[in-house]
């Protein structure tokens, strides 16, 4: 807070203050109602984050050091990599997303979370499903379909658990006490509905009763791209839309742009998937349609970008004092960057070079990590103290977390985009050998960038450790505070 934007509390008259106090009481009630489910979901999410990061490091090391742990079938690159993906997508990111969604939904609807134990039960099943899935992948029971590797005996558990959560989110929405729908709520409602649609459609058409030939590839990439586009992106954007104005105490820059941004995303993002198949065995029209939709994504990206960045404009000084804002702004800027990069990658002339290279991997981490994961970190930093009514124990740990992951992901993404592009240029030049003992080859060219990635991965892992310690510590503090309070009441009775 600075002199130019005084606290709203101080600016209001005493009667307003009273009304404010009442609103606060409602918020406190909502926060308390979310405590159990959020504690469960965030704990699970952080455990998966650590597990997923270990898999990621293993996979990264193996790429430039193929003899490392090579004799264990469970740890071969082709199993560790999907284990990483499924652990972070369904374990970490989805659980964090569900937790943040429920809290935002309750706060924006001004409704406490009823029957939190249902969410807890769903959470138990979700974790069970992901655990069975990841173990099955390591044991060699993968379906062999990217983003859907979890075998069919684990997916129904995930689906039932998810249905329970989504229904609960929609019920909360249905019984909202606030008439005005804030922009975040549109995105959350949409994500809650979109995910089960794409997930069940993909399961049925690819695993249970597969369609014929390359229609499978169409369904596969329609799904895989929409996991990002229709599940993580809306929740990430909803969080930024909530937390930046919330922390700054400013309204969002422009309501009309919010509307335009939401509907253009809803309309175009879900048509993007086929740009993963440029040049592939698909009729030309199918790929062309997705390229057009990808370019049309400039509309939501620019409007949402204007809304986020111009809300932030003039308040950058607040970054010094607010860790939440730091994660959110990092995420918001990454969203703009990664989306514009993604639009470029979808074009035929660019894709000809970058497709099939590590530059795609860099891009997906820029979206999934530099944007979405950073936003989730920020949201968890805001939510936990309010839900537990205990402060974060150490600002230093949070600082270590932020800088380690921020530098780590930049060191991951940008060198790998460069390396991947060079790799693509070499690969499209038939006179460069693919692999060679001495001459420079497509493979030897990528090695320095793959090694850089392993270093960045270690830095990110360090950040995650700091986060996990912070989280464990605040939970411990809360448990101790609770015991102290119970002790006091029992002493008072005596």
């Amino acid at each position: 807070m600075n002199a130019a934007s005084p606290s709203i509390l101080a600016a209001l008259s005493p009667s307003d203050n009273e009304e404010l106090a009442q609103r606060r009481a409602v918020l406190a009630e909502i926060d308390a109602s979310c405590r159990g489910p959020l504690l469960f979901l965030f704990s699970g999410s952080i455990i998966w984050l650590l597990v997923g990061t270990v898999f990621a490091l293993l996979a990264s090391l193996k790429l430039h050091n193929p003899e490392y742990l090579a004799n264990y079938s469970w740890l071969t690159f082709g199993r560790v990599r999907p284990a990483h993906l499924n652990a972070v997508i369904y374990g970490f990111a989805s659980e964090a997303a569900i937790g943040v969604t429920l809290w935002l939904m309750c706060r924006l609807c001004r409704t406490p979370l009823l029957f939190g134990w249902i969410i807890n039960a769903a959470g138990v099943f979700w974790n069970l499903g992901v655990t069975i899935g990841v173990v099955a992948i390591l044991a060699g029971d993968s379906t062999g379909i990217e983003w859907l590797e979890i075998p069919p005996y684990a997916t129904p558990i995930l689906f039932v658990s998810y249905a329970l959560i989504a229904v609960w989110g929609v019920i909360t929405f249905r019984f909202r006490r606030e008439k005005h729908l804030y922009v975040s709520q549109w995105y959350l409602l949409a994500a809650l509905f979109w995910f089960p649609w794409i997930y069940s459609a993909a399961q049925i058409l690819l695993v249970l009763d597969p369609v014929r030939g390359t229609v499978q590839a169409a369904v596969n990439w329609w799904f895989a791209h929409n996991v990002l586009g229709l599940w993580f992106t809306p929740i990430g954007l909803a969080s930024i839309y909530y937390f930046i104005p919330k922390v700054l105490g400013k309204p969002v820059y422009n309501y009309s742009l919010s509307v335009l941004g939401f509907w253009s995303l809803a309309l175009f993002y879900n048509w993007n998937g086929m740009h993963h198949l440029v040049g592939g065995p698909m009729p030309a029209w199918l790929i062309t349609v997705s390229i057009v939709a990808s370019v049309m994504m400039t509309i939501p990206v620019i409007t949402v970008g204007i809304n986020h960045h111009l809300t932030m404009w003039g308040s950058f000084r607040e970054l010094k004092t607010s860790p939440v804002l730091r994660f959110m702004v990092f995420g918001g800027m990454s969203y703009t960057l990664t989306s514009l990069h993604g639009i470029a990658l979808a074009l035929r002339s660019v894709s000809e070079v970058t497709h099939f290279t590590h530059s795609t991997i860099a891009h997906s981490h820029q979206g999934m990590y530099a944007f979405f994961t950073m936003v989730m970190f920020g949201a968890i930093y805001y939510i936990m103290p309010r839900v537990l009514q205990v402060d974060w124990p150490s600002a230093r740990l949070i600082r270590v977390h932020f800088w380690a992951v921020a530098i780590g992901i930049l060191l991951y993404v940008f060198p790998l985009i460069v390396g991947g592009t060079l790799e693509g240029m070499a690969m499209t030049n038939p006179d460069v050998p693919f692999v060679d003992a001495v001459k420079p080859s497509v493979v030897s060219l990528t090695l320095p960038y793959l090694k850089t990635r392993s270093y960045s991965g270690m830095l990110i892992f360090l950040g995650h450790l700091a986060f996990a310690i912070s989280f464990g510590w605040i939970v411990l503090r809360w448990a101790q505070a609770g015991r102290l309070a119970r002790l006091k009441t029992s002493l008072a009775r005596v």
Binding site: K62, P66, A70, E146, L189, R212, A217, L277, T360, V435
Partner: protein, 203 residues
Amino acid sequence: MNYGPILFLGIFLTVASSWCGLVLIPHLQFGRQQPVKIEETGELYPQSRPGIAQQGMAVYQANGCIYCHTQQVRAEHFGADIARNWGQRRTVARDYIFDKPVMLGTMRTGPDLTNIGLRQNSVTWHLQHLYTPVITSKGSIMPPFRFLFEQRKIGAKPSPDAVPLPKEYAPEPGYEIIPKAEAKALVQYLLSLKASAPLPETR
């Protein structure tokens, strides 16, 4: 936008549009393709895989070969796939009608495998390469799949299945390296990967 039902209707219609456009219409349009008779040879193409190759496909799936190898050849004017001899023509939807799942892949950390059965048809080469890739491909970063082989004491006479290995990779004297059933099936699957029949739509 404060009216829930309208919001919900919009959310429903947008995702339904892409489901129709990218899933339903492709299924109706090219999801029922059949093999065709190739003029030059008079044979039907494509043919479904023999059983052992089908088992090899499961090994390919289980060990995540798809994360480094594609099975698609792009057109002559697009990239260097054909100049690199990964195929003589682009691949089209009909090439894949018997694949479940279709493993087109999205990464080329290793070379494309669409025509590996034509480009390298030696079982011994594939076994050596799977056992320790740098035997046959110096500079390769492919992980060794030694867990698909077993080391055995040589009996009365050496097994005909034993993989011939150069000295520096051979086991200690008196032992030999025998491929497990998975390795043999995987090689049969790799040898079955061919997409060279001149389909009319590839021109």
